[in-house]
Symmetry: D2
């Protein structure tokens, strides 16, 4: 049984707290949030203690691991405090607001040798894992074309858009990570186009809400990611990896399995209403992987370095979109 | 090149005439119909000769094969005339109006030794063939449960219902044949329930429009066939064979492949509007099999005996429905 | 917050205990099992108390509700004790070993007026619920044919088979209940055939492992249920309701969404390995419905009467199978 | 009845000849091929005349329409001869070997005012047509992202590759046309990456076998096309159009509908073995549309201008691939 605390009890922090609480290998001992009421609510629900000062968590030697799920602009500080307190860390993505800040933090944390896992939870989605296994077993052969889709269902508030670093850094970053993980490969060149087709205010804020990124990988494989901030039909995520021996797909998923046959149509239940409903189980799997890595003493994955790489690709793609030029990575 | 004539140019006769005309191994030389105008139209379209007297076909020694596609009550006569004229015969199902009449005709035709193929075209449906192949390869193991669905889309005219022999003899008979063919097995006991749920006039005519037949096969396998004369969603045909090693399905088929994602639904194109659109290619394949059997000199399949067996099962199922008792076959 | 205890901590009892423990509207206060070690393990995991004497639960006035998940032969006793203790009851199906015993218990419990919910959890499966909603909204029109499939994946131990009351009472009973619930209708006549195709020992024990039940409903609709104790491909459950206006299907469900395109095939992830993986979420939904009915003071559903009806149908179907006659219900 | 001749009886010319022959509104009167044996074979099969000199077709005033299906390098000559002979023309794509040659030919043909239809048969694929209809009805809303896939199944001979003008001009051109047709829009900027991942000989010939094209449309929509010359799983074509109100997909199509459930998998029949099997019916529909436009006296579509536009886009995309720069169109 590992003793774990959760720092940050917003939407995702609460998910982590509940998952730790019901995990048979973990003991949730404390939660903290800048909003104490929020922390208290989740403490009541999960039967743990809420603390008013985050130092109570970092200074408590009985706490072996912390989950950092606070706003992005505090990640770097908490990462370093947790590392200096010698705790294993599960940190929500992204590491920091830009690559430079992230890199400095990573250097500092690395020096402490604490294990850190970055919260790219999609690596734990059962169907994406199945694609990865198919690739690693050779079922797909040499990877040649990767197609990733990340859409909707609705744009974040414009206030969030303004500080998000842009669609590629905020939304597409999960798929830059998926791409690297699925292919065991790195993009070496990136070209991106985008537009504010959903909401002109997003364009006025200097961002896009619809984009296509083309990449060439070190192996020669070609890759494409399309992202949209809004769909009219729920949350749409799709992974397709085409290779010399076959093609593996983690398809769009319906929220339920009703088919209604009427007239000239079959009306089937559609996609999950939001991204969380689609990927919810992957959050538990990610925490489970983190706890198992602690148990075995192996380095957790995805690592801080994976977080840095994804951030670098997002930066380069953003640069391409601004300049209209393909950019080497 | 086989010289072929088609007797009967109603809906299905015209289909056969066109298929013979475009088959590279056949030469359509003549068509006959009691309605001469109908014969002339199809003769014009396919570039062959229409005859006013069917004897011109039976007496013509250059004609090697005839397709009989006239109304059921004439099958027995034409079968025997064609057999005595020493022509290979492709005869639409059913052989006759009842088992007894059919059996007498079969006995007479058998004596002539001409090859006869019965028009159970569903045996030539590509996906049903795939199920059969899976069974014969052993992919399904020992067959244990068979489920067949035959529905819609709308009832025939009540005048037709009255002379049809009933739903089981008219509609379900195709599936009694499919069952025997798929399983290489014979039903030994049958129980059937039915009702006139679609149209009370069908009930008043002593028939049903909705039915379920349960059967026990000689091997011990259990089978179920549900039939309806009407659907609200096109023509619905489904084959499912469950066995000790797996399950094979020839699923419902959509007429087109559009998927439209909107709101909480995926709207997919539905089933074919009618039975003909669903099984159309099987008619060409059936004629092709007939011509190939002539080429090779092998007995065509399905045979007259297959036709008799299906008719017997339909009779027994009809008896069960009337008596409320399970009937041995 | 309702205080709840769970009586019986075998496989399903443990599932209920965990679901109660994580439900925000319930407080799991105690668990009991004839095997005290089992109770202690689940008590440790969920953070509640295990009791060595079940009376500690029934006599505890602070406990508002009990979940009965002990072996079937104890249901009747615990139902009555819980009712006399004035607790709300969630009782696993079936009520008793046979209809007569069940009916007596129901009469006794009814007199106490405690709310009782019977554990037909499939009524809470999201996709089956969607079929029910489609029917109730009129999307299917007047129901005419119902087809239910219940298969595998492997037979229970022969010792269990011997005391189970037979396949129809033990396995198919869930689907007798589904049928009534989906159609708001009652079967009035039943015919069943079965065989021991999977394991001869099941036949020697006087039971079957493969069966087909045909039923006629009060409305005139026809229904068919096929059941098998073993599949080669995981747990197979399917619901199809055909009516005058359309057809609704709760289709087979895959455990994951990988599609691998290779050669002439698409290899898709198959069905869940077992029944529990397929219907797991419905257990939480059932407990949730039970707690909400307590909250609102409305009678829980499915009721004891629903349990009795399903038991009666199972008895009549079993009688039909033995006699080879259709039986009125 | 229109009298039609077919010039060129290679693979596609033979398809056209058979389709004209079986079309009830056309009379196939002659076929020509540089290889006279080939012409004679198809003339025998379809019951028309083969001519040794193509002038016999162009000079025959009774022939109202010609189908040009000869090698690309002869299109320009035959287009002009047929136009000067005042015949309606159905011409296989592409118009010519490059945009300049094509444009000159188009200018000459335009002057004669004969109706010309260009053989972009995919516009007549039933499922692609359904996507187009959904867009035109507004079901998709404003188009924002288009994703087209065109793959395999195996590369043409290297001798063909060398004179083909490259993958984008030879293979992807169909999809440039589909894109324009589906969206009623024009690409204004294109970026393309490619590689010879399938066969190094293709790279040595200065071509690619795998490519991704990104485009920005005049409306602001973004588009992506991926092409491969080889798959391990048959012919793979997919159309997806995402918009403000929904998403329409013309999905991959299986050649048959068998599903085999075994172990942890469902083995479904895969894609058509080759492109022809997938799109075969569209050839008949295209000829039918051509004949109907003659009947009505309306200009056929797709037009020569459509052919020119697709050729221009292919040229610009090829230029982008060579320079590594995005190119304005």
């Amino acid at each position: 049984m590992r003793t774990v605390a959760v720092v940050g009890t917003g939407f995702i922090g609460s998910v982590h707290a509940r998952n730790v609480a019901r995990h048979p290998g973990a003991n949730l001992v404390g939660v903290y949030d800048a909003n104490f009421e929020s922390a208290r609510r989740i403490a009541d629900e999960t039967g743990c203690r809420s603390v008013a000062d985050v130092a109570e968590i970092f200074d408590n030697r009985d706490i072996e691991a912390v989950v950092i799920a606070t706003p992005t602009n505090t990640h770097v500080e908490y990462l370093q405090r947790a590392a200096l307190s010698n705790k294993a860390i599960y940190c929500e993505k992204p590491i920091g607001s830009d690559y430079k800040e992230a890199e400095q933090a990573v250097r500092a944390v690395r020096a402490t040798c604490v294990p850190v896992m970055l919260g790219f939870n999609r690596r734990f989605d059962a169907s994406h894992v199945a694609v990865k296994e198919a690739i690693d077993k050779g079922d797909v052969g040499k990877v040649e074309i990767v197609q990733l889709t990340s859409r909707g269902p609705k744009p974040p508030p414009i206030s969030y858009v303004k500080v998000s670093g842009g669609q590629l850094r905020d939304q597409t970053i999960h798929f830059f990570d998926l791409l690297r993980w699925l292919t065991n490969d790195e993009p070496v060149e990136v070209y991106a186009i985008g537009a504010a087709l959903v909401d002109p205010a997003i364009g006025e804020a200097g961002d896009v809400d619809t984009s296509i990124v083309s990449m060439r990988m070190a192996s020669g494989a070609l890759c494409q990611i399309d992202s949209s901030r809004r769909t009219a039909y729920g949350y749409d995520e799709r992974v397709e990896v085409f290779g010399s021996e076959g093609m593996a797909e983690s398809a769009r998923q319906s929220f339920r399995q009703l088919s209604l046959y009427k007239d000239r149509q079959i009306l089937r239940d559609g996609l999950h209403p939001g991204w969380f409903e689609r990927v919810e189980p992957s959050y538990y799997e990610a925490i489970d992987a983190f706890l198992r890595s602690m148990e075995k003493g192996t380095p957790p994955s995805p690592s801080l370095e994976d977080g840095l790489r994804a951030q670098l690709i997002a930066d380069k793609a953003t640069e391409s979109m601004k300049t209209g030029q393909a950019i080497k990575i």
